[in-house]
């Protein structure tokens, strides 16, 4: 069927899916988020002021990467739904994926705070790397990261705006035809996906890999954005499970099929994450070049080298917990149909997955700075809670639309088909 019509589908009823106007975030939830944010700010400032170790900065970078990944991953999941013409959840699935989008512009602002911690985090700021001083220097570093994140943020906001247009919602709602999505969203979705791959790779190379400037892995960028994509999926799954019990009988997330689809996505992209991890690991293991292996040795990740070569480090437990939570648990638990459709199981796996992704960001970042011990203490906890608070506050506008879409009679009716 040719769906390439230049004129957009005339909206049948503009108010067909209610916006979030009538909804209010529970005051207790807002209060908790504000308190968490204040705890985080206080902890961060106290950490920067009092500690001689760069705890606060490390925690800031880890949490910036983690929460930015969820929000950014969610938006690109929405784009990939358009690319695959997914209508299994109607507009509800799109709103769910975009729930956290507002954290992206906030993250762009938070990114500039890292400028003040650059000397504590990236070794090349104080000791330039002889091999590539033109790439790793402060002005160029912040200029290119700033530009990349700005471009990404602008594209995300533009995309979300189009995605919420009436004609686009109308398309997502109607699953009785094979129409392509409206032209505007069809043009911006691939652009967003490609920009995502480029910008997230740059973020991974610059913000994480350059913490250990001698180390490089070409696939690292893809590994990072595959992880970000997955953290978006598990955040969606966890949100759906939480909302399921709270939105009253018959809401979109009480459908078994929706849970099944989210479970399948969780399962599939966990495998993809493991694949990109192993693809890097095997090359480093095989080559056995000190300039590459040290990254794994520090983290206690290199096992099965020459006899007696396994080196035990304090990082071993956190490191091996990551593939356990991000791959082994989802793979084993979500293999069958029943567990995918059981909200308590899917929710638990998703929650553990988020913990695993946080730990993954932590293990990627921190051992490059403090290789000999795990510096986790109250500062990390406070900063993490602070980010959680900010993230929660940023999720409110998106979440209102998600809730509205999940309860709209039109959406539920369409999901019935």
């Amino acid at each position: 069927m040719s769906a390439h019509s230049q004129t957009p589908v005339p909206p049948k009823a503009p108010e067909m899916i209610p916006g979030g106007e009538g909804l209010r975030a529970p005051i207790a939830l807002v209060a908790v988020c504000v308190i968490l944010t204040l705890v985080g700010v206080a902890g961060f400032i106290a950490g920067v002021m009092t500690e001689t170790e760069p705890h606060a900065w490390q925690a800031f970078l880890v949490n910036f990467l983690f929460f930015f990944s969820i929000a950014q991953g969610g938006v690109v999941i929405s784009a990939s739904f358009y690319l695959t013409q997914a209508r299994w959840g109607g507009p509800g699935a799109y709103r769910l994926a975009e729930s956290f989008y507002f954290f992206i512009p906030v993250a762009f602002v938070l990114f500039w705070i890292l400028f003040f911690g650059r000397a504590e985090l990236w070794p090349w700021v104080t000791k330039p790397v002889a091999k590539n001083p033109t790439w790793l220097n402060t002005p160029f570093f912040f200029a290119r990261e700033g530009f990349a994140l700005l471009a990404m943020t602008a594209l995300d906001l533009w995309f979300v705006r189009i995605s919420r247009r009436v004609d686009v919602r109308q398309w997502a709602l109607s699953n009785d035809n094979i129409e392509m999505p409206p032209t505007a969203i069809r043009r911006i979705a691939p652009a967003l996906a490609i920009t995502y791959a480029a910008v997230m790779s740059l973020v991974a190379f610059d913000l994480i890999m350059s913490l250990a400037p001698q180390w490089k892995s070409t696939l690292f960028g893809a590994f990072f954005f595959a992880g970000a994509f997955w953290s978006g999926i598990v955040a969606m799954a966890l949100t759906a499970v939480v909302l399921r019990g709270r939105l009253g009988a018959g809401n979109l997330f009480t459908r078994d099929t929706i849970m099944h689809d989210l479970g399948k996505l969780t399962f599939a992209f966990s495998v993809f994450w493991a694949y990109t991890l192993f693809a890097q690991y095997i090359v480093i293991w095989y080559g056995d070049i000190p300039a590459e292996t040290f990254f794994l040795v520090v983290r206690g990740a290199l096992i099965g080298g020459p006899a007696g070569y396994t080196i035990y480090t304090p990082w071993m437990i956190p490191t091996w917990t990551v593939p356990l939570l991000v791959w082994v648990v989802p793979f084993v638990v979500l293999m069958g149909v029943k567990p995918k459709k059981t909200p308590a199981i899917l929710g638990t796996v998703a929650f553990l997955g988020l913990v695993g992704m946080w730990l993954e960001r932590y293990v990627l970042v921190v051992p490059s700075i403090t290789p000999h011990y795990v510096p986790f203490d109250w500062i990390e906890l406070a900063v993490t809670l602070g980010f959680l608070g900010i993230f929660g506050l940023c999720a409110i506008p998106g979440m209102k639309l998600t809730i509205a879409a999940a309860m709209a009679p039109q959406v539920l009716e369409a999901a019935e088909k």
Partner: protein, 177 residues
């Protein structure tokens, strides 16, 4: 079988075909169904459970992993050579062989068991089959005594059969199609 004739009902809609299947089942009449599409509703109506192919994929996959272990570990022990300073039995690259053989064996046993359970290749035409059942029509064939045919025909008509053909199974040849 003492069947005299073959009744073949043609249905334009999946739903009607499902109704006819239900009606025939209620009356304890044996039948064959032809469908142009894989239809979950029909499978459900017939009462066929999950495909046995699934079990063979699992068995094939496990066999592949075991073969992968046997081939890699076995040859390593046999040669007992230290390569690149690594232990003789080095698991990371073996995982790849195990993984690939799992896919290969799983895939091959899926294909083989599919052919087996689908009774393919089917060289002789199935009684009652018509080319329309591979295009845009659902069909139900019932082998029955001449005397019962009126009742069965009524059941299928009631469910929404477009037309009902009477065929003589003994007259069936390949040319008839």
């Amino acid at each position: 079988m003492s069947a005299e004739i073959e009744l073949v009902g043609t249905f334009a809609e999946e739903e009607e075909c499902v109704h006819a299947v239900d009606a025939l089942k209620r009356n304890g009449i044996a039948f064959r169904v032809f469908s142009p599409i894989p239809s979950e509703h029909l499978l459900h109506a017939i009462g066929r459970g999950l495909s046995p192919v699934r079990a063979f994929v699992l068995i094939g996959g496990i066999a592949g992993v075991l073969t992968g272990i046997a081939v890699t570990v076995g040859t390593s022990w046999e040669w007992n050579l230290v390569v690149g300073g690594k232990p003789v039995v080095s698991w990371p690259p073996f995982i790849i062989i195990m993984f690939e053989l799992m896919i290969l064996f799983g895939g091959l046993s899926a294909a083989a068991s599919f052919f087996l359970f689908a009774h393919l290749p089917q060289l002789d035409p199935i009684p009652g089959y018509s080319e329309r059942f591979g295009a845009d029509r659902f069909g139900i064939a019932v082998a029955c005594e001449e005397a019962d045919s009126a009742k069965i025909e009524a059941l299928m008509r009631e469910a929404g059969a477009e037309e009902i053909a009477h065929e003589d199974p003994r007259a069936r040849t390949l040319e008839a199609h």
